[in-house]
């Protein structure tokens, strides 16, 4: 009998996912292309995204500059390629942070119950009474702009949403015999939560995480567009759209088109992948 390595098992699972859910696979493919573009940005980008070239300002798309140049003579294509670094970095980091924090809060809330549960739930309710972007804007108002602050701003509104979902699936776990057995054996709450509960809330955790990714990228683009996110001269898609509509609408429409396409395409891909993953992992869980 041939032993299957972990790698073979994973690749087989991935193939099965691709065959059953072609749309999700398309999303995954776009995401992989994005990640590759972000990692190898230094190799594939034709120009330096930060260097101003005042001899080549607002040039229309051409063989040299496929997507044209912006008001500082910077190559739009190169800035989009480097912008994927910002989008992915902010997207992955804030989704991971938000979902993980939410999961920890949700699990402890379910495990301890009673007063701790009530207190944590009140705090989460409080955070849920803000629309997503408003909470993010408040955090930016407190911390100021910049990449790290934007990550925190996007993380915070994600926490209560994940905590809610994880808590409800952890509540049933608490009554499971294996949790009771672990408690009878004298294990502490930390051990039980991490070793016995965490593996069993992986499905909702992963679903929330992937559902956040698209939203996080969209939120980062919105904040940067408002001038309250990533700051110049860093390459970020939302930032590239800032001022593009009114100031350069007639002279340089390409400045406004391509970064928007990049945002839409990546959010689209993450949503497709997230939806398929949700259907594959847990058909009952519906998040709109």
């Amino acid at each position: 009998m041939v032993e299957t390595t972990a790698w073979q098992r994973y690749s087989r699972a991935a193939l099965r996912f691709a065959r059953r859910r072609p749309l999700g696979a398309v999303g995954a493919a776009v995401i992989i292309i994005m990640i590759l573009a972000a990692v190898f940005a230094g190799v594939i980008a034709p120009f330096d995204p930060l260097i101003n070239d005042y001899g080549a300002m607002l040039q229309a798309p051409s063989a040299g500059h496929w997507f044209g140049t912006d008001a500082f003579g910077r190559d739009v294509l190169s800035r989009i390629i480097y912008g994927s670094r910002t989008a992915l970095w902010v997207g992955f980091f804030s989704s991971f942070l938000g979902a993980t924090l939410g999961a920890v809060i949700g699990m402890s809330s379910a495990y301890f119950g009673g007063k701790i549960d009530l207190l944590l739930q009140r705090c989460m309710d409080l955070l849920l009474s803000f629309p997503l972007i408003v909470l993010a804007l408040v955090v930016v108002a407190v911390l100021g702009t910049g990449t790290l602050n934007v990550i925190l701003a996007i993380t915070l509104p994600m926490v209560p949403r994940c905590a809610l979902v994880v808590r409800s699936s952890a509540l049933t776990l608490r009554e499971m015999p294996f949790v009771e057995a672990a408690r009878a054996l004298g294990f502490g709450p930390l051990h039980i939560i991490l070793r016995h509960m965490a593996p069993n809330v992986m499905a909702p955790y992963l679903i929330m995480l992937t559902a956040f990714l698209g939203q996080a990228i969209l939120l980062e683009a919105s904040l940067s567009f408002l001038g309250l996110g990533v700051s110049e001269p860093q390459a970020a898609w939302g930032l590239m759209l800032r001022g593009a509509a009114v100031d350069f609408a007639e002279r340089a429409p390409w400045m406004a088109i391509y970064p928007g396409v990049a945002i839409s395409l990546s959010v689209f891909a993450f949503n497709l992948f997230g939806d398929s993953l949700r259907d594959a992992l847990d058909p009952k869980l519906r998040l709109s």
């Binding site: 803000f130 108002a141 839409s264």
Partner: protein, 306 residues
């Protein structure tokens, strides 16, 4: 509802003041002039920033029942006044966007459900998923680009109240309403589709058909009426999208509304303005959810709140 709002007020008020650096420093650093310490202190005293935090908080919170939200630290005008002059535009935009969302989502979602698994269904679903991915501010930018390039026309920049000149009013506001409404409708379309699909499988639909009712009567009187409940809920819940949509599209279309005021207040560190606007948003958000619950209980006798 009141305890939550009080919690929101406490949270925002103290959060904004956790970090050092305030509006006075920003004002002076903006001018680039040398500011003596006494001048800074005088300005702080004028704004009430030298008082202990709890005192500032009680002053602010005790004014709210009288609709006194304090004075803007940037303009010196009462916050309530600054909000009031911009409220009409934002409310109208929100209503228009909601109408656009309903007009798009209910028919499309229903058609998609009836024609399930045909190319019409796939097309509508694609349209809805795209709506979730396309940022509303970019949609607005593309609209403006199209107007400028193809029609050499821009929506008017000054706000005309609806009752003064409906056409001028709509010429300005319908475009941002479409940009926000498309995204807003995306979720509602998906919800309508799945709700109608679910209802069509119910026993009472089969009964209605079996007793020989007209297909249209079955559909409108029996199916649609029941399917619209979750749709109403989702439209209320996704009100949050609307708020976000307003913040960014008001910026794109250069509309002087609440969203623009919010963004300006944040970049100017105008604490009184930011905290009042956040409280207002939270209030509207909670209130809308409450109204949605009421409507649901009214439409569906099975739902009763204790």
């Amino acid at each position: 509802m009141l305890p939550t709002l009080f919690g929101v007020a406490v949270l925002v008020f103290f959060l904004l003041r956790v970090l050092p650096g305030d509006i006075v420093e920003l004002k002076y650093s903006g001018t680039g002039a040398y500011a003596p310490k006494e001048a800074l202190a005088r300005e702080r005293a004028q704004l009430g920033l030298d008082q202990p935090l709890w005192k500032q908080f009680t002053v602010w919170i005790s004014g709210i029942p009288r609709f006194d939200f304090g004075t803007s630290m940037w303009t010196g005008q009462p916050v309530a006044h600054e909000i009031a002059i911009r409220l009409e535009l934002s409310i109208e935009l929100a209503l228009l966007a909601t109408i656009v969302a309903i007009l798009i989502s209910v028919p499309l979602g229903t058609i998609a459900a009836v024609k399930q698994d045909t190319w019409i269904d796939y097309g509508i679903r694609l349209f809805a998923i795209a709506g979730l991915a396309i940022p509303s501010f970019w949609l607005g930018i593309v609209m403006i680009l199209a107007f400028v390039i193809y029609f050499r026309w821009l929506p008017p920049l000054t706000f005309t109240p609806f009752w003064v000149d409906p056409w001028a009013n709509l010429a300005q506001l319908i475009w941002p309403a479409l940009a926000v409404g498309y995204r807003y409708s995306a979720v509602a379309t998906r919800m309508t589709r799945s709700a109608v699909l679910e209802v069509l499988r119910e026993d009472y639909i089969r009964t209605a058909r079996a007793k020989g009712l007209w297909e249209r009567a079955v559909f409108i009187r029996h199916a649609l009426k029941n399917a619209l409940l979750p749709v109403i809920t989702v439209i209320g819940l996704e009100f949050a999208f609307l708020v976000g949509g307003l913040v960014v599209t008001e910026q794109v279309f250069n509309l002087n509304g609440i969203g623009k005021l919010f963004v300006e207040a944040i970049s100017q560190r105008d604490y009184t303005m930011v905290q009042s606007l956040v409280l207002l948003t939270a209030f509207v958000f909670i209130f809308v959810n409450f109204v949605v619950d009421l409507i649901n209980a009214f439409l569906d006798p099975r739902i009763r709140y204790g």
